[in-house]
């Protein structure tokens, strides 16, 4: 455990038994460091909540251990925070029960925490009358009022509408950076994860399968399943070819569709080619850098902010996003032929090891 590590997990195994059956979570190694935000991603039922509850000390490991070097409080905000009877301010003050704090200190902290999440005007309202979003803000206020060293969040945006999620995630990010609290947060919302995370941990089927810096995990998922979880949705099978373009290897999908990327895989290796939608460029005409071939536009979904475009490329559908109302987004039509390109640095290869990874 390094000096900056606040929580660490080693060789962890948690087994839960309920009426609905048994569940098993394993994690070889996971650390939460000071001043960092770790986002735990995974499909439903992959064990995200169990992991964060174990970090909070609410579940007892069957094997392995959870060590804490945190000098301040470790606290958790639940997925469905239930308000306590009484006012909003009372709900925050509860955090001070049994702690030695002066009255003025308490008042100051309550005000600060409520202001942080913009619900100070509700201080004297009964907590039971708050909306879902306000309740979530109250739970976060209470957690921050504790001045925690480690904050564990289980789906902090669940049940909120898009605007609510966006507003709350910004307030949360500001609170995290203002206080320097270390955060481990469960979510299955990729956009919140990208906004809030320094590092990402991915769980699949109860197993911790990848942990790393945010961009490493987002751009270099180690398996097909992880790629899907982290939003690398453009996935096409290919074979590493003999040709090389300088430092780059050429991966062939078919005769007319090739992708250049730096790789250590030897020629003949069968791989999944993964390109994140935001890294796939789309153009009409010539002059493209790093071309990967042409495709036909099959789908255009415009939500007023961004335009999601589906392109048939080598028999697979690739997806990319354009800014609405600008440039190509204004003129693009279904059936149009477009040129696709991708920076070789943003093309990721995942070796195909077994049939189970067939798409």
């Amino acid at each position: 455990m390094s000096e900056a590590t606040l929580l660490s997990v080693s060789d962890l195994c948690v087994e839960l038994h309920s009426r609905r059956g048994s569940f098993r979570l394993t994690a070889d190694e996971l650390e939460l460091n000071a001043r960092e935000a770790l986002v735990i991603l995974g499909p439903n039922g992959s064990g995200k909540s169990t992991l964060v509850r174990t970090l909070a000390g609410l579940e007892r490991p069957t094997a392995g251990r959870v060590e804490s070097a945190a000098t301040g409080p470790v606290t958790m905000v639940f997925q469905s925070p239930a308000p306590l009877a009484g006012s909003v301010a009372h709900n925050v003050r509860v955090a001070f029960l049994g702690k030695k704090l002066s009255g003025s200190e308490r008042r100051a902290r309550v005000t600060e925490a409520l202001e942080r999440f913009k619900i100070d005007h509700l201080a004297e309202h009964r907590a039971a009358t708050l909306s879902g979003g306000e309740l979530r803000r109250l739970a976060l206020s209470r957690a921050f009022a504790l001045r925690p060293a480690v904050l564990l969040l289980d789906e902090p945006f669940a049940g909120l509408d898009a605007d609510g999620q966006a507003a709350l995630s910004l307030d949360l990010r500001r609170a995290i950076s203002d206080t320097g609290v270390a955060v481990a947060m469960v979510t299955h919302d990729l956009r919140r994860a990208m906004l809030l995370s320094d590092r990402i941990a991915v769980l699949i089927d109860g197993k911790l399968v990848q942990v790393g810096r945010r961009d490493d995990v987002l751009e270099r998922p180690s398996t097909l399943e992880i790629a899907r979880v982290v939003g690398m949705t453009n996935l096409v099978q290919g074979v590493v070819g003999e040709d090389r373009r300088g430092d780059l290897a050429v991966v062939e999908v078919d005769e007319r569709h090739r992708v250049a990327t730096p790789t250590a895989f030897t020629a003949g290796t069968r791989v999944w080619i993964g390109i994140r939608p935001e890294h796939l460029k789309l153009d009409i005409g010539r002059g493209e850098v790093d071309p990967i071939g042409k495709g036909i536009v099959r789908e255009i979904v415009n939500d007023g902010v961004s335009v999601s475009v589906g392109v048939d490329w080598a028999g697979s559908e690739l997806r990319t996003h354009l800014m609405a109302g600008r440039g190509l987004a204004r003129t693009l039509e279904l059936g149009a032929q477009v040129s696709l390109s991708a920076n070789p640095e943003h093309v990721h290869l995942i070796p195909i090891r077994s049939t189970s990874q067939m798409a």
Binding site: A56, T75, M76, S80, L84, G86, V94, A95, G98, R126
Partner: protein
């Protein structure tokens, strides 16, 4: 028969309270912790225990009186304490009547809380005794119901206190046994007067408790 003096009515009322209030206090002191302990936990044997409590909630007081009678009588297991036909015996019977009510209502109130309630409070680092305080605060409506139900149960109860108290003038004569006695003596006006006091007492106590509860609400 002359109508009883105001002094006698006051005396009977005072003794009724002197018996019922300690019985209520003891029932709450024992019943609330048990109800909270059972309500917040899952353990083997919980289901039969809860159904036993539910049975106790409906136990006919007169049967309770009979059981306490046999426990306390001269030849009974606790006969040497000479408690039968004393206020202590009445308190005991009333505790046996009220205890299942308090436990049952308390554990239902605890059970109605969110599943994660205890954990949520615990992760805030709230120490155990403060958690308990919060829990009581959280379920205070249910607890108020428990108090009123228990008080109603023991204040209006006659069969058990008659059996173990004996309606002794100046010692164990309480409102209900006095009402029964005057009814049987044909002194219906006096019985009615005492009944009015009993109902009034119940109204005042329930009103007080409700007022306390309302004022605690933010």
């Amino acid at each position: 028969m002359n109508p009883p003096s105001i002094g006698l009515l006051v005396e009977i009322t005072a003794r009724t309270l002197a018996v019922c209030l300690p019985a209520l206090a003891i029932s709450l002191a024992i019943g609330l912790p048990i109800g909270i302990a059972i309500g917040g936990r899952r353990f083997a044997g919980r289901v039969p225990l809860v159904s036993l409590i539910n049975t106790g909630m409906g136990a006919p007081p007169v049967v309770v009186g009979l059981v306490v009678f046999f426990a306390l009588e001269r030849n009974g297991p606790f006969g040497s304490w000479s408690l039968l036909y004393s206020p202590v015996a009445m308190v005991l019977a009333q505790v046996v009547i009220a205890l299942p009510l308090v436990v049952g209502i308390t554990l239902a109130a605890v059970g109605s809380l969110d599943e994660d309630w205890e954990l949520q409070v615990r992760t805030l680092g709230v120490p155990k005794r403060w958690r308990l305080w919060l829990l009581v605060r959280e379920i205070r409506l249910g607890l108020l119901a428990a108090v009123i139900t228990a008080l109603g149960g023991i204040l209006s109860e006659v069969g058990a206190v008659m059996a173990v108290g004996g309606n002794l003038e100046g010692e164990t004569r309480v409102l209900t046994t006095a009402i029964l006695m005057y009814t049987q003596m044909g002194e219906l006006e006096i019985a009615l007067g005492l009944a009015v006091i009993l109902v009034g007492l119940m109204l005042v106590l329930a009103g007080l408790l409700t007022a306390v509860q309302q004022s605690g609400r933010a």
